[in-house]
Structures are given as structure tokens and as C-alpha cells.
Symmetry: C2
């Protein structure tokens, strides 16, 4: 007999996937150039040439037994050292190779991080708006997700609600900066206040609350800003990273967890991740991919297209009267749906009408932002440029005079 819970999950399809499938089908009908698909967060620029060269050079030059052989359970020490050195240089940290655990992307990183710092039934606090996959990621570990409603003025943290929510059941708090879906970065002020609150609450509870920082979009940031590095604000931080977005290699499944050297049990946590791997089926990344990425750690794909697209869309949404916060990074923007005849925003009605104009947006209700919608602009700039007049016409026809 099959497992009932997983069987029942099959009924609940992801809205994003459904919309994306609709868009793909519609593209076949009317031509891909006539559908404006802003549904999926799939990088639209190729991996850097240096990555390709590293793959070929390593494959050609390395003894295959060494190249394709087992790496140690907790990762290839050469790769771990390169990652630690790069983080130390960039963020003034003090990681050693023993603090770095290679995994297959940010999902694998979160699967290990949450299990390592929670007991079944404890809570992991997440701030809206949030990536809806956090729900299965976190609940699948045996811990429970607890969601703090969004601060819609700035998409920073609502500290009043966070303070109320922290209890004896709180194992960890998860931040995602730059944020999917809003594109907003956690400010230094926010991170300082968060660290202070976590220290105060940890002292009150007599146990350390961990901070899990999910930052796959760390390298995609606009206006030459730098993203404050959460682990440098709070000692008990596990940094979850994926090379999927910055290097445009999501199919290669490679990321890591970095344990702050000042964290509780910092010298044990990577070994604990190794133990966790045994039960969840070892999320070790490919050894070839690990090596190739470790030689291109300071490279990124050409990410400038995302900033170009963001500026075009932000200006257009503002001009059309949308309530919208300018993203600091990522390849997402999350405006509020224009009000319906009753004066209220209804993102589902809005996205449905947009779909009639072949504009594919995703309602952000499932991201904890009811009334808002997410626009994923990881597309060629000419798609954005062609979409803008369509968006204008759609707003005029459907929301004129509302």
C-alpha cells in the first residue's frame, strides 16, 4: 500500500506550475512571441563561459578515478576550502572548510539546516512574503512552519509580531534576502534588530534560537548595492546558498550550508549534516560540478539583464498607478493588484484577466501577500519591452475608471 499523505499531495498542484503549463500550451497555439510568461523563476542568461571551460578542462585533465570517485560524506575538502576562503574575503567571516557542507541546492541546504537545529514539532518562523515551497520544505523535516504576516509598507520584519510569536517551541527563524517574491533586501537595521531580539529571547529561553539565512539571490542585486550578510550580524546563523541563480546552473544542483564559526556546536554541525544525509538520501552534489564551480566562485552569469528588466517594469507599474516597492535585487517584483469595482484588490481576478491578454503573472496570495502578484522578469529584455504596451492596454481596458 502506498503512503496516504504523499498520495493526497498529488491533488494539490502548484499555482505557479499550472500557470506556467498554461503559458506553454498557449505559446504553442499563438506563438511563443505572443505570450508574456512572467511565471517561473528560471534564470534566462547562460552560465559564464568560464564555467563551461572549467567543465571541459577538468574532465580532460583529471584522472577519472579521482574525479568521479566518492567524495568524503561531508564534501570535497578542496571545494570546501575555496568556498570558505571566498566567503571570508567577501564578508569578513572566519569560515574554515569544516564549516562548509556542500549540498544539492538551496532545498537540500534547508532540509539539512532545519533538521539539524530543530526537534520534531518545534517551529521555524518565516516572514511573509515568502517562497511557498518553504511549507513542504520545513514541514517535511518534522518541524512546523510559523508565518509572520508581512509589513506591506517596506517588506521588512514586523518585530511586534515576531516578538509575540517566539516561544519555547521556536527552533529557528528563517530570513530570505534578497527576497522571493518581493525583491527586497533585509536592511542592516533590520538585521541588527533581529539579532538583538534573537539574543534577548535566547537568553530568556535559556537556549539558542538559530537563524537560517536562505540567500540564493545574494548576487543579484541592483544599483551597485551590497546585500548585508545575515551571518555577520548573528552568531548562530546557518547560511543556505545555491549556485543556481548567480551562475545560471539550476539543473546542476549545487549549493552549500555555511555554519557560522561562532555558532553553538559550530564544530559539530557539518558532521551532523552528514548524519542527516543518511536518512534523507545524501544530497551530495556531483563531484565534477563541485570542482568546476569551485574554480569559478567569483564569476557570475551576466546578471545585468535583470536590473534592466526591473527598471522597465517598475517604471511602468508606477506610471500605471500600481502600489509597488522597488526591488533591491532578485528577478522578481511584487505589485499590488489594481482595485476591482468594489475598491478591493483581488489578485486572482487580476491575474485571470491579465491571462486573457496573454500576460502570465502569479497571484502572491500563496506567498503570504494576498492582493499582490509576482512578476518574474528572468526573460529577455525584448519580452519586457513588448509586454509593456500589452500591459498598458490591459490596464486601460480592464481597470479604466475603476
Amino acid at each position: 500500500m502506498v503512503n496516504r499523505q504523499y498520495l493526497e499531495m498529488l491533488g494539490h498542484k502548484s499555482v505557479i506550475r499550472e500557470l506556467s503549463e498554461y503559458a506553454t500550451a498557449r505559446a504553442k497555439e499563438i506563438g511563443a512571441e505572443n505570450i508574456y510568461d512572467f511565471s517561473l523563476g528560471n534564470p534566462s542568461v547562460p552560465a559564464p563561459e568560464a564555467f563551461k571551460e572549467a567543465l571541459i578542462r577538468i574532465t580532460k585533465e583529471t584522472d577519472p578515478l579521482q574525479l568521479h570517485g566518492y567524495s568524503p560524506t561531508v564534501g570535497n575538502p578542496v571545494v570546501k576550502k575555496r568556498i570558505a576562503d571566498s566567503l571570508n574575503r567577501r564578508f569578513q567571516m572566519d569560515y574554515g572548510p569544516q564549516h562548509i557542507f556542500p549540498v544539492s541546492g538551496a532545498t537540500g541546504a534547508i532540509a539539512h539546516a532545519v533538521r539539524a537545529v530543530s526537534e520534531p514539532g518545534e517551529e521555524v518562523i518565516v516572514f511573509a512574503p515568502f517562497f511557498p515551497e518553504y511549507i513542504p520544505y520545513i514541514n517535511g523535516t518534522g518541524a512546523q512552519i510559523r508565518i509572520i504576516p508581512a509589513s506591506f509598507e517596506d517588506f521588512q520584519i514586523r518585530f511586534d509580531l515576531l516578538e509575540e510569536a517566539i516561544s519555547e517551541k521556536t527552533a529557528a527563524v528563517l530570513v530570505n534576502s534578497p527576497n522571493n517574491p518581493s525583491g527586497v533586501v533585509c536592511s542592516e537595521k533590520t538585521l541588527e534588530r533581529l539579532a538583538a531580539l534573537l539574543r534577548k529571547k535566547s537568553a530568556e529561553l535559556g537556549r539558542n534560537i538559530f537563524l537560517i539565512s536562505d540567500e540564493p539571490y545574494r548576487e543579484i542585486v541592483f544599483d551597485h548595492k551590497t546585500v548585508p550578510y545575515p551571518a555577520s550580524f548573528y552568531e548562530h546563523t546557518l547560511t543556505c546558498y545555491s549556485f543556481s541563480k548567480a551562475l545560471s546552473i539550476p539543473g546542476e544542483r549545487f549549493g552549500y550550508v555555511a555554519v557560522n564559526p561562532q555558532a553553538e556546536h559550530a564544530e559539530d554541525l557539518v558532521a551532523m549534516f552528514g548524519q542527516i544525509s543518511r536518512g534523507i538520501g545524501h544530497n551530495c552534489p556531483s563531484s565534477l560540478i563541485q570542482l568546476a564551480v569551485s574554480e569559478t566562485l567569483e564569476e557570475t552569469a551576466d546578471l545585468s539583464v535583470y536590473e534592466t528588466n526591473m527598471n522597465l517594469l517598475y517604471d511602468c507599474f508606477k506610471e500605471l498607478g500600481f502600489e509597488v516597492i522597488r526591488p533591491d535585487g532578485t528577478f522578481y517584483i511584487m505589485p499590488k493588484a489594481l482595485p476591482e469595482a468594489d475598491g478591493l484588490s483581488d489578485s486572482i481576478a487580476f491575474c485571470r484577466k491579465a491571462l486573457q491578454h496573454d500576460l502570465v503573472f502569479v497571484p502572491a496570495d500563496g506567498f503570504g501577500a494576498p492582493g499582490y502578484f509576482r512578476v518574474a522578469y528572468c526573460v529577455e529584455t525584448q519580452v519586457v519591452e513588448r509586454a509593456i504596451p500589452v500591459l498598458r492596454r490591459f490596464v486601460e481596458e480592464e481597470y479604466k475608471g475603476v
Copy 2:
């Protein structure tokens, strides 16, 4: 605060790893050529040239956005079809791409298979001798491992004990053929009897018991034998495979679960694996590795060295008076330790004394075969040839006249 269970696991080091670490340290002392390390199951022959060529060709010729982009959650359809076609051709099965789920090696395959067909607390029955990592692999899913003692005459299944063990708590039975550590293959007769018993018990219980077949050593088989394919004997079979051993690419982490098209919920199981992935951190293999392997499905590394080594060692162990079954495949052999002065076999005492002669064997007590030891002969043949006189001298000095 960190998770207590995983923290406590750190105290329990694997005996295999400890011995292997001892051997590595000793090799540094006395020279690698003077230590005979038969502890680790790490392939000793390089991946086939065709695999290297495929990696380079695919990297050079494929659009990087397509090559390194996300594959669908349940796997690349081209790769799935190639795997299904190859299995159908070789084992007269009827798999479609929808029955194949690519994962990161056999561990990932087992993590998905067990979760999909069990409820927490249910049992998965395993036959001794068995790979000891099954304990964390299975118990880590929430199911419980239940071990059936070995049939030491032939290392087939003790059906009397199996029949007694099957109960309402039985979710699945796991077979591993060719077997780590004995090298023995499940015979057709055994598989026929197993299928008949599972059908009978399933009917009595009113629910189907699944068969999980873990077969990473399927291609390493001696005397031109063929390994009976368990899924062709029993309809509710999930076949767990890894390319690690046959292609000598354990570091690349690629395998699959194949769902028998006649199994209960055959059309849902792969989608269920996709749901399971979300909670355990998505064990999807690298897209480049998937494609390269899918072009070399009919290739293997040059596996003949394992048969050469097996013959040398088997003949030597027989000649020295060991009780030992001739392996049908794998790169393991599992003799019984020679009796101590009290007439009883003590594999730990035996392996400790062997270590004094720089022979590294692993006690098989943890594999469910007390008194036996495992010899992993995935080494160059000259290592076996040089080890044989050392083995003779060791037996003569330590067990002469016993």
C-alpha cells in the same frame, strides 16, 4: 539548540570508515604498497572513455541555458525514456518514461522508495547479510528496519523466518542482489518463492506488500551469469539503481527508481517521489551527468578485474581452509573467520590480528553475519597478488595448529 538525535549519532563512527582511516594513516607510515586495504567498496577501475567523451561533447555542443537549466521535478523526459528503453530491452519489461525517477544514487532511491510505500512506524524487512547503512537509510524515513537472520549455507532467503516476520506492520521487503557483503545473487528459485509468498501474504492482509530491489551491483556478475531481475518476478516492485559501480562514477551521484508498470499506483508513484523530494531536499541529479550517462547506458567500466581478483582470493581462502561461498558478483567476498583457540570464529579478533599483518578486512558482524568478515577486492590485481603470500603467512603464524 541543535537536534539531540543527530548530535548523539556523531559518537557512533562506522567501523568501515575507522578501518579505512587506519589503513590510510598506516600507508603513510610504511608506504601504500605495504598495506593491503580491502575495507572500502570504492570502484578501482576508471569510468569508460565514452562517458568522458559524452561529458565533453554535451558541454561543448548544448546551449548552456538548456543544458544547465532546471529539469522537471520528476526528471528529464529524454533521460527517463532512454533508461526505460534500456531496461525494457534487457529485462523484457514494459517501463515508460513515467515509471522512471532519476535520483542521486541508490541512497536517494531508497529514501524515496521507502517513504512512498510505508507509513511511519511500519516495517521494511531486510535479509542478513545486509549493507549496514540500510539501518539509517530506512529508519531515517520514519519506517523501521526488521532484519531476518542469514541462511549461512547459501545466503539465500530463510523463508520460514520471513513468513513468521510478515505482519500487518510490513510495508515492504528489501532485497539486494548481487549482495553486499556476500557477493551472492538471489536465484530465480528464491525470487519465485519470494513473489509467491508476498502475493499470499498480501492477499491475507488485504493490502499489497511492496518489494524494494536495491541493485547497484547488477552489472558486476561473474562466469557470464545473468542476474535474475527481481521486478520481473513480482509486480509491486520498486527497482533502486545507481550508476556508481558499473560506470565507476560514485562521486557523480546518479541513479533511479523504476516503478514496475503493474505495481499498485504505478502511474502515481513517480509523482509521489516528486512530492517526497520537497521534504527531503530534492535529490535530483546534475542535468549534465544525467545526459552524459543516458548516452552511455549500455557501457560499463572494464569490470573484468573484479572477477580476476575474486578468483584469486576465493581459491586462496579455500586452500587455506576458510569456510566461504563463491560470489556470483559484486566486488566483495565474505569468508568465515578461522576459529580461535576455543573453536569459535571471532571476526573482530581475526581482523585485529590481520591488521597486525597490514591486511585490512572488515568484521561482518555489523552486516548481520557474526563471525564472518568482508573483503572488498575493488583494488588492482597486483595488490591481491602481493596480499596472498601475506595472507598465507598471517594464517600460518596466527592460526597454525588451531
